[in-house]
Structures are given as C-alpha cells and as structure tokens.
C-alpha cells in the first residue's frame, strides 16, 4: 500500500502549480483554466488515482459535507431503517455524507453525541424520533441548521416533517365505510402521543363525513402491540352488537386482531374487515389475507428532512422561515376489506366462499 497521492503529486506529475490542479479539478472555476491544461490535469489526476482530502478542503472551506443524524432509537423499529435510508440517499445525491448516532433515549449520552458531531463540524443536523412527537430542540444543538424528523417543534423555530395522523386514520376508516361498513370499531393505543389523538380525530372525521353516529363503545385503548390488538379486538367483537369493520392503530395490533378473529371463528374479510396504519410489510404482506393498511412514508420523510436541511445550509435565509410539513400517507390495498355480510348478495353461499379465502394459495396442492 503506497502513500496516498496528494495534490502536490498531481501538480508535479502534470507540470503545473497546485492552484491550477485545484481549479482544473473543480467545476466551479470553469473559466479559470485553459481547456487543454484542464484535460491534461484531469488525465494525470485520474492516472494517479488522486482524490482530494475532504478533511483538508473542509478545513479550508469551512464546510465538511457532513450531516449529523441524531436518533433516539434506530434499531427498535424496522421503519427507522427506511428513514435513515431516505436521509442517506438525499444527502449522498447532493454530495453529503451522514453520520449516525443513536442515544437509545439516553439524554446525557445524546448531549455528548451532539457535541461530538459538532466537533466534526457537521454542516447541519437532522434530529429524528422513532415515533411522531412534539418537542423542543435540545439547546446543545447550536450553530448549525436543524430539521426535525418524525417530530414537531413546540417553538415553531425549525422545520419539521411528520405523518399526517388525522388524514391517515381518515383514509383507513373511509376504506371500511366505502366498502359498506357502518359499525366500525377502533382499537386505538393508550399512550398520550400525537398519533393517538390525531388518529382518533381522523376516525371521528371519517364517521362524520359519512353521517355515521359516533359510538363510544366502539373505541378501545390498548397497548400498541400484538397483544393489545388481540385484547381490543376480543373486547369489541364480544359487544352485543359487534362491529363488522375494525380499524387498528397499527399493524402489530392488526395481527392481534386477526388472531382474535380466528379464535372466535370469524373469517377475514368475510365476517370481519380490518384496516390499519403502518404498512409494516412483514405483517401486512405476510398475513393471509393481506392487510389493507395506510403506509407511513418513512423513506420520503427521511429524504425530505435532509433535502430541506441542505436547502437551509446552502441558503441560510431559508432557515428563517421554517416549514412544518405533515406528510400524506397512501393506503395500500390488500385483502382484508370486503363488504359486510349484511350487504352480501347471498348469505347462504357465504360460508363456503369464505372458507376459500382462509386457505393459503397453495391449498390446491392438498388432497
């Protein structure tokens, strides 16, 4: 492994000054150098395998082309990967690199991590949360532009992007209404976060738009995982007048609802339709029938956050007018929604027809 080739090596090999090399290799100073010299220098640089040292140019230009991504829980949710990827792609396309830190929710650690990022002269910071929340930007983040990812700034000082919870829930509930359901249960979750309230509002809104009266009994608040979905679904389905459609706060709960339905002998979607929010693909695609669910656009939010951050870095004026974006969430239709039984053309045939749907595609292989 030979020593790294620097700009002086190129300058010597090409027989020009380092200045000329620098300019010949930069696309900003086009006019500066003779096209012929330029070609020659580029050729020599390529031959030597020269690549500028970003530490040195960063020091000189006061620009590191480094971005910090500060997260509280990268690993705990599979979506986080999508957010990080979106951020990374958007950064790389514009010439930046992402440095990742994850505090696991430890504030003291986060503070040190941020200061480390700042020591590395990051040009900006994306402050990401694993679920949508409202917060104040930690005071140690200073001197560089910041954008919030999956969070909103209580002070309204910095730009942010998060899912439009209300609209997402309305979409999911409307899907059931459009299929003909009038009695729709909502397995909400029991933590006091924006999503809980936003999605409840969306549920209300969808019902109101369809002229369906709100029934308190049809809403239950459960832990936001599979067991909560099971519990909530069992509770609602054992009502004297059970719902024919179920909207779950998120996909793991929907998985629980599937299990509950099966344990009660209910077929999906014939006896019970289900929608949800997440598009947690291992669940939504894995379940049979597939789950109709509203996708949270994590990749796009990651992209947007970095793209906005770079805008503010390149034009500091932009930072003075922060933008608060609530991202639209598209529905992904699979097989968990059908008209309620009461609307079915022939109720007697229903039982047999429905059985087909509960068997996997490969069932023909069986005797």
């Amino acid at each position: 492994m030979m020593a790294k080739v620097g700009i002086r090596d190129v300058s010597k090999a090409a027989g020009v000054s380092v200045t000329t090399v620098s300019h010949a290799l930069s696309d900003v100073h086009q006019a500066r150098v003779n096209p012929e010299t330029r070609r020659h220098v580029q050729e020599v640089a390529a031959r030597l395998g020269y690549a500028p040292n970003r530490l040195a140019s960063g020091l000189r230009n006061q620009r590191s082309y480094l971005l910090g991504l500060v997260s509280d829980e990268i690993a705990s949710t599979p979506f986080a990967g999508e957010m990080v990827l979106g951020a990374q792609d958007a950064a790389y396309e514009r010439g930046w690199l992402i440095m990742l830190v994850d505090s696991g929710g430890n504030r003291a650690l986060e503070e040190r991590q941020v200061s480390t990022l700042l020591q590395h002269q990051v040009d900006g910071i994306v402050y990401a949360k694993m679920y949508h929340q409202r917060l104040t930007v930690p005071r140690e983040i200073t001197g560089v532009p910041v954008v919030l990812l999956d969070a909103e700034d209580l002070d309204g000082k910095v730009s942010s992007v998060a899912p439009d919870e209300l609209a997402a829930a309305r979409t999911a509930v409307k899907e059931l209404i459009d299929a003909g359901h009038r009695r729709i249960g909502f397995v909400n979750q029991n933590e006091d976060i924006p999503a809980t309230h936003g999605r409840l509002q969306g549920y209300h809104a969808a019902l109101a738009e369809a002229g369906i009266e709100y029934d308190d009994d049809l809403v239950t608040f459960e832990v936001p995982d599979v067991s909560g979905g099971r519990d909530g679904a069992l509770k609602l389905l054992s009502l004297p007048e059970p719902p024919t459609g179920l909207f779950c706060f998120r996909d793991p709960q929907a998985l629980g609802a599937y299990e509950a339905a099966h344990s009660l002998g209910l077929r999906i979607p014939d006896d019970l339709s289900i929608t949800s929010i997440d598009d947690f693909q291992i669940i939504s695609e894995g379940l049979w029938p597939g789950l109709t669910t509203v996708a949270l656009p994590h990749y796009e939010m990651g992209r947007w956050a970095v793209s906005r951050l770079l805008d503010e870095i390149e034009d500091p004026e932009k930072a003075k007018a922060p933008e608060r974006l609530l991202f639209e969430c598209p529905i992904v239709r699979r097989g968990s929604v059908a008209p309620p039984r009461s609307l079915s053309p022939s109720d007697s045939e229903q039982k047999d027809a429905s059985r087909m749907n509960t068997l996997p595609p490969a069932s023909e292989e069986l005797a």
Copy 2:
C-alpha cells in the same frame, strides 16, 4: 449565534500560548504542563465552551476518528438496525463516529460511495451484508483496514464475523428432539447461500446425534417468506406420516407455518411444535403462542466488527492475522414447543387443554 470559539480564543483568555492550551487539554501529554496552569486552562476552556475542531486535528494527526459502514441493504431488514446500532455503540465508546452508506445493492454506486468515504479519510471500513455470504472485498477499498460483517472473505485476507449457521440450526432442531419429537420436518429456503447449506448440515447433525434417521421427504425448499412457510408446512403436514415438529429456516416462514397449521385445524404446540431462526421479535413475540426461535446476534456482530476494526487501526500488526469469527446464536424459548401427542399423558384431555392455548391471555375477559 456567535462565532465558534477556537484554540486561540482560549489561549488569549487564559493568557497562555496555544501550545499550552493544546497540551493542557490533552491527556496524553500529562507531564508537560504545570498542574495549576492545566486547571486554569481547563476552566477557561469550559467557560468559553471550547471544543477542538476535529477536521483540523484530523488533518494534523492523519486520523479522522471516522469509520465507514458500507451496506448493501440497510432498510430491507429490521435486523440491519441492530447491526448498525451495535457498530455505532462500539465506535462511539472508543471515540469514533460511523458514516453510513447504503448502495441498495448497486455496485457502481457502492464504488463511488467507498471512494467518498475514503476522501473523508475514514480510518477503517466495515463492509456489511444483509445476509450471510462469502465474497471478495471490492478492490476500491484500499489503504485502510476492513472488517466484514455478516459475510466471509473468500481470500481469507480480512477479519469477518457471521452467525454460526450450523450450530444455530442444530440448536433449533435439538430443542424439538429434546421435547421428544422424532419426526421433524425442515422448511428450508431455496436460495444458494451459506445459510441454506449450513442450516441443513445443522439439521443433519442434530438428527444424527439423536440417532434419528434422515428422511428426505421431511425437507422442503421454499421461498424465504411467509408464503414459503405456508407452502412448505402444508406440504410436510399432508404427508402420509406427517411430522410432529417443524423447524423453519426463518421466522417469517414460521409465521406461515402457524397459518398453515391453523388452517388444518392443528393446535400449536399441542398438535405441532415449531422452532425457527431469527428472533424477529414482532413475529416471535407477536404470535400466539410465542415462537421458540434461535436469535441471530446482529447487535453483537456489529459491535464485534467495529471493535476488531479499531483494534486493527490502533495496532496495524493485528491486521496481518485476520480472524474469522462465527458467532454463537442463543435460543429464545417461548411457547411453540411441547412434547408430541403420542407422548402426552392423557390423550383424551388433550383437546380441551390445547384449546386454552389457542386463546389469547385476555380471553378470560370474555363471557
């Protein structure tokens, strides 16, 4: 936002030279400076909020304290987050930061990403794959130590860490054998990668150790997702003499196997025991009963890779004796394994007892 405070500001405010500031703040040059001066400088530095510019010190020291993490698919698997987190933690603890790039499997892009990392003067590179494979280190990675993560070097030139596939499979199968099963199906996957062969060997090994004869009919190769699990399980369970235990290549397939079992009216674990590999928690914890599965230690592998990489960076001699580590995989016991029916104490009571197990914990709430 005031201008950033540099070492000169501290030197002025403390009334000493920048040299003294540098030494007072560094723990390497302990003896160099008078304890009193040292305290004074530290106090002033803290008051001004001084933190050294890592770009500048990196340039001077030829050490960036930056590591590159090159991955082919961060977002596609939830485990990736664990690997990244393990890498990040290990790096941060020793004073390094991770820069993340993800090529999505695009080689041309990966080549450019690596060269960008190198331009940033990373001190080393972790080359990660989303699933265990054997490969040659791309030639553009040069001049810095490399460690492979979830991969092995065909040339044996660099250190690597990956799961011990054979042992993992043996553990999973042995769990069934220990419960009393003798007829054990294996829903393998159908791609030609180390895991496929390694786990098949592990299956063989476990059977051999227990003196169980291998039966070709009990092994099926399916796509490595939920539908493959369904297909494979249905196929094996419809055999004239069906297995009483099922080992699945990975958790999504196990989910499919659960679905297949339910559609055939089989209870887990009473009528069918299942083990798997992954500990994909949303599945393994979410299923009812919970899935007994062998965990792939992604976090630990990420930690090990970075830790080994830093060892090689700090002591280049180490790089000359690469280490190839196959990580042990611990089993996580939940509720999907029980003795086969033939061994049950009273077969007549079994049906009712088993029914309890198919209902969720909250079922008591119901009438």
